[in-house]
Symmetry: C2
């Protein structure tokens, strides 16, 4: 059976020593009172909830899965899931970073994300239920009418109701412009919505009396394609003006998918048969409104893989210290034992450190992004808000794709540490790998993320936002360029930063002549950008560690941080050499292949 210990020390390192979040919050009136003690107390309580309440349901949830009663269209979630959710509500957790106007606690996004990292380590399938609610909250908060906000937000904030995102249809996932679900306006201002949705995570369940579905559909006069899509609130039970529940609405679960992983989450086929809905935002502008949810969701998916990388690492590390097998190549280490613990083997260490470096790098990046979102939402200076918004937009596809791909590498490496036992369900390792696998696919496949990054966020504004990130790198180089001890960390990042500029210009130039060059380079480009960003954070983490060590701090945490940074630059970062070479080989070897793919 696996175990999980919330990585509070490393979270606190990132929050307080690397990002100094409470100093930042002093500049934001909403968060000016958030101090280190408050942050740490919430982390600790959140960690307890994740490890004690949610984590014990992870393997059983995977084995039981969800069950649909085809008569009633009701879904039963795995044993214990509903009770854990009740405790989640009791603890006030759904309200953590929500707007106080609707009952929220108004705390920073950084805190909510750190809590979600721990929930995801504990149980991704369970965490998706509240996670999707939060997305629905954000879309209604941003685009809903006052009446919609009044009716739905307090219940979503309290967790009494949950939410979903209903985008995908059998014939369209990435290409939402093709969607067919129809919305017919009624004389009372509502709409009757008819169509079929698939892959709706947390789409039906037994946690709460009502589910607030956010549904994309077409109005009768809608233009074709993605500019003719509107967003609707379609509750499972109609909601009366006083907030109480009315009759059952015409949205039913027609089936549950059998999946590779996240078995504890109900992935529903939803049939809408004249379901009553209300419009969110403007007609035909549903996709933009939905993007509020999707950008948050994309960072949320990165957090899912971060959580799985961390928990996989912890368990592989424990196993590697415990499992005795063979002797060290450089001589027996555990003379009193029949064999050495496998952690003596260099490649076992490599697998473990890969997961550790990706977990800690991912934690730094996602907390930084969350801090940017806090700035974007609550900083008094409009210029700061705009800069933050642009930078988080640039980093979002990197968080989603780079961290989920790294999660794939890391969970598989950690599973490999277990040898044959890694393949056996009871050890829990193969589940981390299976659960993680969806993260590379949903909320826009990682290929879609890479096109978003290279095509829209980088080339779309001639690299202007990328330069903003480049300034952070330049600033670090300036600060530490003369520090010999930092050279091993700074030099590779500075060099890659320079190469990246040239590399981007090259692709931009080629893309100008042939747009397929973007598609050919994008996935490799995103991974190079990911390493630039991780390299930057690993250099900054090394900087903090070196300063503490120089100041006489004996905490082995700092030495560990330096060792992991060295490993990262020696063994993982060099991937950029291959990625750039492959990207530079261009689109021709891909597109001139009709016979090969006949």
């Amino acid at each position: 059976m696996p175990s999980y210990t919330p990585p509070l020390r490393d979270m606190q390192f990132v929050m307080h020593e690397l990002l100094k979040i409470t100093d930042e919050y002093k500049a934001m009136p909403r968060h000016a009172e958030v101090d280190v003690d408050t942050v740490n107390a919430i982390l600790e309580e959140g960690g307890k909830f994740a490890s004690e309440v949610v984590f014990p349901l992870n393997i059983t949830g995977d084995q039981e899965g969800c069950k649909l009663d085809k008569e009633t269209h009701e879904v039963t979630t795995p044993t214990g899931f509903k009770a854990a959710y009740a405790r989640y509500i009791e603890g006030g957790w759904p309200a953590l970073s929500c707007d106080p106007e609707y009952g929220g606690q108004g705390l920073p996004v950084v805190l909510n994300q750190a809590f979600y990292e721990m929930l995801n380590s504990a149980n991704q399938a369970w965490t998706m239920y509240p996670g999707l609610s939060h997305g629905a909250y954000e879309a209604i908060h941003e685009h809903g009418t006052d009446e919609q906000k009044k009716l739905y937000l307090p219940k979503l904030v309290s967790g009494e109701w949950t939410g979903t995102m209903c985008l995908t249809e059998p014939h369209c996932g990435t290409d939402l412009g093709l969607l067919r679900t129809k919305a017919e306006p009624q004389s009372d201002g509502t709409y009757r919505i008819t169509g079929n949705k698939i892959f709706i995570s947390a789409g039906e369940h037994d946690f709460v009396p009502n589910i607030v579905h956010l549904v994309l559909a077409r109005l009768p006069d809608a233009p074709k394609g993605s500019k003719g899509i509107s967003l609707f609130i379609v509750p499972k039970y109609n909601v009366k003006a006083d907030g109480s529940l009315g009759g059952r609405n015409g949205i039913f679960c027609g089936g549950l998918e059998h999946k590779m992983g996240i078995h504890g989450n109900a992935t529903a086929q939803l049939v809408l048969d004249g379901a009553v809905g209300t419009l969110v935002g403007e007609p035909h502008k549903g996709l933009q409104a939905m993007f509020v949810m999707m950008n948050a969701a994309r960072i949320g998916v990165g957090m899912q893989s971060l959580g799985l990388t961390e928990v996989a690492f912890q368990n592989a590390l424990a196993y590697a210290k415990d499992r005795l097998q063979m002797r060290s190549l450089s001589g027996t280490k555990a003379k009193d034992k029949p064999a050495d613990p496998i952690i003596v083997h260099p490649d076992v260490r490599k697998m473990l450190l890969t997961a550790k470096a990706y977990a800690e790098g991912g934690r730094a990046l996602t907390m930084f992004c969350s801090l940017l979102i806090d700035r974007e939402l609550h900083h008094p200076d409009a210029k700061v808000r705009k800069d933050a918004a642009e930078l988080v937009a640039l980093l979002t596809p990197i968080v989603k794709a780079f961290i989920t791909d790294n999660g794939h590498i890391a969970t598989n490496a950690c599973m490999q540490v277990f040898g044959g036992h890694g393949y056996i369900q009871e050890w829990g390792m193969e589940q981390f790998a299976r659960d993680n696998r969806i993260n590379m696919i949903y909320e826009g496949t990682n290929t879609v993320q890479s096109l978003d990054l290279l095509g829209r966020k980088v080339l779309g504004n001639q690299g202007a936002t990328l330069k903003k990130f480049g300034k952070l790198v330049a600033q670090l180089v300036e600060e530490e360029g003369v520090n010999e001890k930092m050279a091993e960390f700074i030099n590779p990042v500075a060099y890659l930063g320079e190469q990246m500029t040239k590399f981007t210009t090259e692709i931009g130039f080629k893309a100008f002549q042939n747009p397929d060059e973007v598609g050919a380079a994008a996935v490799d480009y995103l991974r190079v950008a990911g390493h630039l960003v991780f390299g930057y954070f690993w250099a900054r983490m090394a900087q903090v560690a070196l300063r503490e060590i120089a100041a006489g701090n004996q905490d082995p945490f700092y030495k560990a941080k330096l060792q992991t940074a060295r490993f990262y630059f020696a063994k993982l970062f060099p991937e950029t050499a291959t990625l750039m070479r492959a990207a530079r080989s261009g689109s021709k070897v891909l597109m001139d292949t009709d016979e090969a793919l006949a």
Copy 2:
């Protein structure tokens, strides 16, 4: 539902045009009569059996799994598995490459392996039952007494009985020196064997009346460690001198593992309680005898991933042509359709071609190895036999680790082509990825393979065997060095060959001072060696294709081969740059990490 078409054309290309096997067989008395028509007829029949009989049971077998009756200790395999095995016997398939003295057809190993590739594409879980029998056949054929051969081989050859390999125990997998199962000599020359084995593939099932377990155990006077292990035949039912079945032997299935994949294969915990066994080979030399099975099994595991890579590719290709989603970045391609088929997108092509290049490269390499085994077994010239044996020993860990890692990359890429549908069981794609995952682990993890390659096969003889492979590369360079059209294929291989020599010397020198340098470099080294070998075969395949095209052959197969070769060298082969850089960074960043792994 997935589909599968045996890749007969490509198999024939490798056999007849690349390796010219029937020319080779003319030199081997045993196979001198094997002609192209015979080969093709067997391939065609084998392909029919795999695709029509075994493939339809793949998804259902995964869903049903195996069931153990805890009272009787008997296992029921998934619906249809037993009937398919009966047809397998009827068709005479188990006998294909077995010794005619025991009822075999005496056909080349190349043919048997090609058949197994197709079986593995069709259903790896099912194929493991006959696959393990073949291993038991080989061990008894090589090391058994005349009586053992007479009693067991005819039934294994006919398929009336099946076999297993019983190595692993709960506390030892890689490190068999730790094993505890005991064998007590009896006055009648038999042994009573007691202990617990785990992870025994095909360890119990309902296919046949008897199972021939090959069991590793210790004699009372055994030296400690791996030099004190003996090999025994322990049948499920005792076998009387006339070959008929006696009483039930004391070897029982105590449990079945719940695994990530290969659900259709019974992975058994076997309890031996004074089970009667007979010694195979010499006392205390069981591990060497077992290695006969393990080397064949390692190539067999590579074949499993080759099969999965091929079938995943076929299905992803079909889906990519069928699924309409978004428009091509370089302008609409399917004007009459609501969107373009996703095969227009460069990254979708990249994922498909990755699988194709790995499948076709793997097919060339594994058939070459099988031909080497045919040479080793049946060539009249002792020098040829010895060279073949050494080369196949060098290539075996590459076949096992490189092809299974590539299978991981390829099955996951093909699954990714399906987007969300790739994660859903009914499409079958996630099963290919799950089934493949065990191949990186069992029969010696891929880390163990890399240590075998670098430590034993390369540095163990100062690179002498590696130079044999180098000679093949040099010969190709000599043949084609002046052919401009071949430069794009030859140059990277020749360059890598040179680097490899230097790289090997470097590691050898460092390892002399610190043996952990071998462990730190081995996994990267194996992948570099894998690309050298694949690069060599891709260059030779391009050579054949160019010659055919130059001769006016219009078959688009050759153009496809060239396109795939170009893709391989542009997008996959450059991985070697990163691998060598990471390997050169040495062991210090791995071993000097005690605080990081505290």
